[in-house]
């Protein structure tokens, strides 16, 4: 007896074709974006561009200040967010005994992860720029709040994989809680911290809306400490200003190419570190 096919049946084999098409589209899109940005941007990338500051007098465009500002803001953000995020994760997995409190903290972290950057920009402006002035420091502190959930979540995932038997072994020898955490737990959650850092750096490099009103868009090359207290544009903000307000598309594409290369590098780094830890855990 032959089964009669259901009316939906003819559509079903199409699934294979359609998903292949969609995947092809996604792949083409990515290739196009990478190729287009690099083709348009790399010709404009010169040593002069990356080693000088812009000058209205000589009508020169230089992105050295933006490069430096990006570096400074990334370092400063990590410096603050790492202890906060790792500490919060340690509290959640090692200390928190109340489920409701832990739930509230995790919910808060999720909420932070979902808030759009423009809102961070506004709140950062109210909280930090109004007190510290529009400055890289105000921008970095805003980014600290934005990246807190990333560091927290990745560290937490990693802490969960530290075997309970390590903790028991250390407690059984009479070690106090803090010593157990410091010597046996934390050294074994390195993977999560590293992954969190890589993801955060990616996010910091790509962020713009949260920085417009907190860090501002000045193009002066400063040393680290001066820069922290002065306004300054990061690469993304500079791209926006050059493209949207000054029509300097060459510079904008050059920055876009740098950002693209950084995004590719971060992706590679994430893959390599995952492989590294996989191999280390296997041995």
């Amino acid at each position: 007896m032959m089964m009669t096919s259901s009316p939906r049946r003819p559509l079903v084999p199409l699934v294979r074709v359609l998903s292949l098409l969609a995947a092809g589209l996604t792949a083409l899109l990515t290739l196009f974006l990478i190729g287009y940005i690099l083709l348009q941007g790399l010709p404009h990338l010169s040593w002069e561009l990356v080693s000088t500051s812009p000058s209205y007098i000589s009508q020169r465009v230089g992105i050295l200040p933006d490069l430096l500002n990006t570096l400074y803001i990334t370092l400063t953000t990590l410096l603050f967010v790492l202890p906060l995020g790792v500490g919060a994760a340690v509290y959640l997995t090692e200390y928190a005994s109340s489920r409701r409190l832990a739930g509230a903290i995790e919910y808060a972290a999720e909420a932070l992860a979902g808030i759009p950057s423009i809102i961070y920009g506004l709140v950062g402006m109210l909280l930090f720029s109004n007190t510290l002035g529009t400055s890289l420091m105000a921008g970095a502190l805003t980014l600290v709040i934005m990246n807190l959930p990333t560091i927290m979540r990745n560290t937490q995932e990693s802490l969960k994989t530290v075997p309970q038997s390590y903790r028991e072994g250390a407690f059984g020898l009479g070690a106090g809680k803090w010593r157990v955490i410091r010597t046996v737990v934390l050294p074994n959650c390195l993977e999560g911290v590293v992954t969190g850092c890589i993801l955060s750096v990616g996010r910091i490099l790509g962020e713009s809306a949260a920085l417009l009103f907190t860090a501002g868009f000045a193009h002066t090359a400063n040393d680290f400490f001066t820069a922290l207290s002065s306004p300054g544009a990061t690469l993304t903000v500079a791209l926006y200003v050059y493209a949207k307000e000054q029509g300097e598309f060459g510079a904008a594409f050059a920055i876009a190419a740098i950002l693209m290369l950084l995004a590719l590098a971060i992706n590679l780094l994430a893959t390599l570190s995952a492989k590294f830890f996989q191999r280390r855990n296997a041995s």
Binding site: S165, E168, G172, L173, G174, T183
Partner: protein
């Protein structure tokens, strides 16, 4: 019977609502091996973990009754000091993911020994006492996880010995090991009883018979019978003990 090092009186323990130990009273003799036997879930491991307060790590546990270690109430003393004097060896070998040397030195360092020479001596003695020195003396800096399962367990015993405890608690220390490693650990345990009080949970009745001086039989959270090992196995007083050791339930 030797002087008791631990005296337990009327110990009750609950995990949340369910009672895991019911008015257990027992005296653990010094410089002797006490085996705890009974079917799984009978409370023997729970009882063992109460002696060095490892149950503190579980939030829902509630304890009533008295446990005296050398005359002192263990629930009133500093828990870290208590665990220093009452060491523990776990069912599955659990060396830390660090070097062999650092594993053994972990305890002494925890309790404040920093001097390199003293540490070297402590580590060597503990490894010798645990009968593993000859196998590892040339690779003390190697990761402890590279050792075999049996070696890992002897390393864990060395790690416990390095803090110079009085009592050694062992929770089925050979259940994860092959027969050869098992017999090495048994020999080691026998040699250790000259200096330590040893309490060992075991599933293996031959093992209890081979190594222990006293045996305690637990069933459903109760201590049914406690006595000299040979007597308990040859002439059990309680019907339930007899049923268990003759294999009628398990």
């Amino acid at each position: 019977m030797n002087q008791p090092v631990i005296t337990v009186q009327d110990l009750n323990l609950w995990y949340g609502q369910s009672q895991a130990l019911r008015s257990v009273s027992i005296q653990i003799p010094d410089r002797a091996i006490t085996a705890l036997i009974g079917p799984s879930g009978c409370g023997k491991s729970t009882f063992l973990k109460t002696l060095d307060r490892m149950n503190d790590l579980i939030p829902s546990v509630r304890v009533e009754g008295q446990v005296l270690y050398q005359g002192q109430d263990i629930f009133q003393t500093d828990v870290n000091q208590l665990r220093r004097e009452i060491g523990m060896v776990f069912q599955k070998p659990n060396p830390f993911p660090m070097s062999i040397y650092d594993n053994v030195a972990y305890g002494p360092r925890t309790h404040g020994t920093r001097d390199k020479k003293t540490l070297d001596q402590l580590v060597e003695r503990a490894l010798r006492d645990a009968a593993i020195w000859d196998e590892v003396k040339d690779r003390l800096k190697k990761n402890a996880l590279s050792l075999s399962g049996g070696q890992q367990q002897r390393l864990c015993i060395a790690r416990a010995l390095a803090v110079q405890p009085r009592v050694l608690l062992m929770d089925e220390p050979t259940s994860a090991l092959d027969p050869i490693s098992t017999s090495r650990i048994e020999d080691l345990v026998l040699s250790l009883k000259e200096h330590y009080a040893i309490v060992m949970v075991t599933h293996n009745m031959q093992q209890a018979l081979r190594v222990s001086d006293q045996t305690a039989f637990f069933l459903l959270g109760e201590l049914i019978e406690f006595g000299e090992t040979g007597t308990l196995f040859s002439q059990p007083r309680d019907k339930r003990t007899e049923d268990y050791i003759t294999g009628r339930f398990g």
